[in-house]
Amino acid sequence: MNKLLKAVTGKLLKGATTGLVFALLFCPNSANALETDFHGRMQSTYVLRDTDGFQYGFMDNLEGVQWRNELKFELTLRPEYEEQHFVRVEKIYLAYRGAYDAIFDLRQSAYENIREKSPDDFELGKDDLETENDLREAFIDIAAETEDQSFNLRLGRQIVQWGEADGFNVINIINPQDNSTMMFFENVDDLATPLWMARLNYSKADLGFIENLGLELVAIPDIRPHLFAPTDSPCDAPYAFWFKDLRAWTIPHPMFEISTDEFSRLTQVLYGHPVEFKEDVPSSGLDNLEYGARIEGGFKGFDMALYYFHGFQDDPAMDFSRALTEGRYYFRHPEQDMYGVSFNKYLASVNGVIRGEGCMISKVGLVDLTGCNGTQLDTSSLNGGNNPLAIYDGTGATGYSLQRVYYSLIGFDYDRWIPWLNKGKNMSFSFQAYWRHIHKWGYDQQYRPLDKQDNYRLTGYFYTDYWHGRIHPELFVMYDPENTWMTMASAKYTRDGRWYCKISVLGFWGESPGGGGSEGATSFGNAVLGLPNEPDNPYTGDSISPFTTPSNLAHITEVSFRIGYNW
């Protein structure tokens, strides 16, 4: 029923949008000319992964994880009018992306265990990774103007990005991300999942002392979560390491423990399938409409914006409560409200721009096992008699709790001419400091193992051009005070602006959780049972960062080679 409703709503929306497009195109105020822009790119990217990272041996454990061949193009149609009408179609925009990843044919044996087909919406299969054929964006802009006001209504599938942050999503929570095949080497634009929505932009020249008053309203009936690589039983997809580690994870319990892999053997017996990760996404449609607003203005060069967004969490909140009864962990997407603010100001005295943003999200689902009740099972036949197993039986909490979370970020961008680095052009520098604070939260190794109350990160981003813009090097560095670094360096070369090639190296650095570089099993139980920390027990140390929990990225280094053609 849910599916049917979603399909009907989706079709109605698409139909209405298409109808409106045609109605406006052929309305009496029809345009007398149509300016068209058509351009795109073809590119091929090969990614090599050093599976224990450069810090544990340079390029010594290499495997190809991607050979993605992509075609992307955009078509923009702009009607030209003899007269300026109060309401007019400003443009129609279509963006298509198709891709084929040859790595699954090249390394069939490595990826043969990935499930072939997508079992459900938002749960991907190998076919989703191997090929893409997607009309990513399709929207129409309808503009209206009065003496000192302008309106722009954008209807259709589109991307909206909010805030001032680079490399973080603080306020920017409208479009979910597609992390299934491309995590590291892509533009934000390419990682975002476009959504069907209506977006209204309103501008007014001035209002009292406020300059450039702007208002943006969004209404989104299209509910989608972040997409991940197939969360199947082997989790062998190249970018499934987050879930691969999760599958090796042990469900904590005051008395007993069981790893997900062990549990899978149990569910295989009980339900005929290994433990499953199931997406539980609210249905699309007007009943679950996401909506938000941004209002912005300036005063003497100080620009500020206020944000509000009501929607569903894109990241999964993991619910273990039906593990025993169904053999499934559910990814819930709780409803939440975001209240945010951002600003920027050009500081002439230092020739730089200071910018920042902050927000409070009312309910963020975080792993919280407090109150979970267990059931002890005699499963000695399954695990060699080592342990009795405990499974959450759903009589207590779900395994996550909804917390109020504060995010903030401040950045500073400036350019400097450093002749010994680049005689012909300025170097551009960008620095950011990020802080996340979970309200009334106490980190607990056993019950709240993945998040500390405060998380800080610092970033630096540097770029310039050499050789008349033919060579464009970039360096991005992120440091987490939990002793983890992420670095990405790249250099792009183009001679004619059409053909280009690019090499990028991404690495995570620092001490792996538990002190090792390997993908060790994880366990919380030792602490509970009063046992000493073991080297392969990653979650008994202090290092809790997005790079180390629940997945251990510190053993990942990737090198990407790209060649492409723009037109």
Binding site: R41, T76, D189, D465, H468, D496
Partner: protein, 457 residues
């Protein structure tokens, strides 16, 4: 500065007095006689050709750096003559006279009303019609203000443009963009509301190639003479980013061109200290058809004006001409050089972070059109030169407004031996590059940060 000093001093001595009190708004009924005198003075005839074999003929008639180009055979010169008076239209000249005594410069060298001491929200006509460039210490600055209004009288417009990378071996790559501009001063349709106190706003929106398409830069130039507000919409992150307004001397997208180089000078007038160097007769570079006719804009029912359907070829550079033997960036077969009277003005940046050292502007005394710029680095070494191919266009009823513009910019960096070419009118690889004035969609409401977000994608 390696001017041929003897030549400059000699010519300057003769001409300085005559032209130091310049009526830069000159509408010249005796233009033919004046042109004839200039030809006699330089000893050249229309149709004459100068190259590496007789380069001495232009020795005192171009910046010395460009004389070297002729001497080395990098470029050649075909002399032409005007068939009409190249001065601005008569009404502009008359309106300019009304501004005598109306304006002055404040302590920051920003233009203000002489009575109120505040920047004018609207002006029409040259701001200092009787400026004494030689004896008034602020004379060169005032001339630059005159220039800024004389060459920017289009009100609002939309224009296609290219930036081409050209090495000594030929064409390398191109970026195509659209320029949207809204001037508050010197508008043909009179004063418009200007609550924010702006001089102009513009948007540069990249059209292709794909990896840059959608990038749009909004510049807000204020009347108070402070640095610009600058915002860039970056399609890769789908966001508008606030940028430093002081980076106008940075290479634009890695080219040899900077934002301040647009139309010879698009910087803040009070960001430079201007100094009069001299007045001399020299050869003015323009496209061949501009000697005989103007580009007559065509009116449309919405009140806009656009290039005529039979679009004329813009100034060509070497790589556009098959079989061209000289430098691929050099003015080529349809370039003509006509003797004119120039003011040479030296600009020294006030901002210590500005990328250039001194820059020398070679400016037509009548039209203020800067034909050549010679750039030095901060260490005082010669760096690069630019040539602004000129043409004229007319529009408007009942009288025709006439203004000089540039349809091709040429920048050659002698240190890196690399050039950048901008085409902003004419044809590029057969594709028309159109300019449209007073287009309704280019109105004040277009130039807001909020609007920038939906302008491209």
């Amino acid at each position: 500065m390696k001017f041929k000093l003897s030549a400059i001093i000699g010519l300057t001595a003769l001409l300085a007095v005559a032209f130091s009190f310049q009526n830069a708004t000159a509408y010249d009924p005796d233009w033919k006689e004046h042109q004839k005198e200039l030809f006699e003075k330089v000893g050249l005839k229309p149709g004459e050709h100068i190259d590496e074999n007789n380069w001495e003929k232009c020795e005192a008639l171009l910046p010395s750096q460009m004389v070297e180009w002729v001497k080395k055979g990098w470029m050649d010169i075909t002399v032409g003559e005007y068939k009409f008076d190249p001065s601005p239209d008569k009404k502009w000249a008359e309106d300019s006279k009304k501004n005598a005594g109306k304006y002055k410069l404040d302590d920051t060298k920003n233009l203000v009303d002489a009575v109120t001491g505040k920047p004018p929200k609207y002006t029409y006509g040259e701001l200092f019609p009787n400026v004494d460039i030689k004896n008034d210490p602020d004379g060169p600055t005032k001339v630059m203000y005159n220039r800024s209004v004389a060459l920017n009288r289009m009100g609002n417009y939309r224009q296609g443009s290219t930036i081409e990378w050209v090495g000594n071996k030929g064409f390398e790559r191109v970026i195509e963009f659209k320029l949207y501009k809204y001037y508050f001063w010197s508008r043909p349709d009179g004063e418009q509301p200007n609550k924010k106190g702006l001089r102009y706003t513009d948007i540069i929106a990249v059209v292709r190639p794909f990896d840059l398409a959608g990038t749009a830069q909004l510049t807000i130039r204020k009347l108070d003479g402070t640095k610009d507000d600058l915002y860039v919409y970056v399609p890769a992150i789908r966001r508008v980013k606030r940028m430093s307004g002081a980076n106008r001397s940075d290479p634009f997208m890695g080219s040899d061109f900077t934002s301040d180089d647009s139309n010879s000078w698009a910087g803040l007038t009070n960001s430079m200290t201007w100094k009069y160097v001299g007045t001399q007769t020299a050869l003015f570079c323009l496209v061949d058809w501009a000697l005989e006719t103007t580009n007559d804009m065509v009116p449309h029912s919405d009140g806009s004006w656009s290039d005529p359907p039979n679009l004329k070829q813009g100034g060509q550079v070497g790589y556009e001409v098959e079989g061209w033997k000289r430098k691929p960036w050099a003015p080529a077969t349809n370039a003509r050089f006509v003797p004119r009277t120039f003011n040479v003005i030296e600009a020294t940046p006030v901002d210590p972070f500005y990328n250039y050292g001194k820059v020398y502007f070679w400016q037509d005394q009548d039209t203020h059109f800067t034909n050549y710029k010679i750039y030095f680095d901060k260490a005082g070494e010669y760096w690069k030169s630019s040539i602004y191919y000129a043409f004229f266009f007319t529009w408007g009823d009942p009288y025709k407004k006439k203004m000089q513009g540039s349809n091709v910019h040429v920048f050659y960096d002698e240190k890196t031996e690399h050039a950048t070419i901008l085409h902003s009118n004419g044809k590029f690889f057969g594709r028309p590059i159109i300019t449209e004035y007073q287009v309704p969609m280019v109105n004040q409401k277009l130039f807001t940060v909020n609007r920038l977000r939906t302008l491209t994608k």
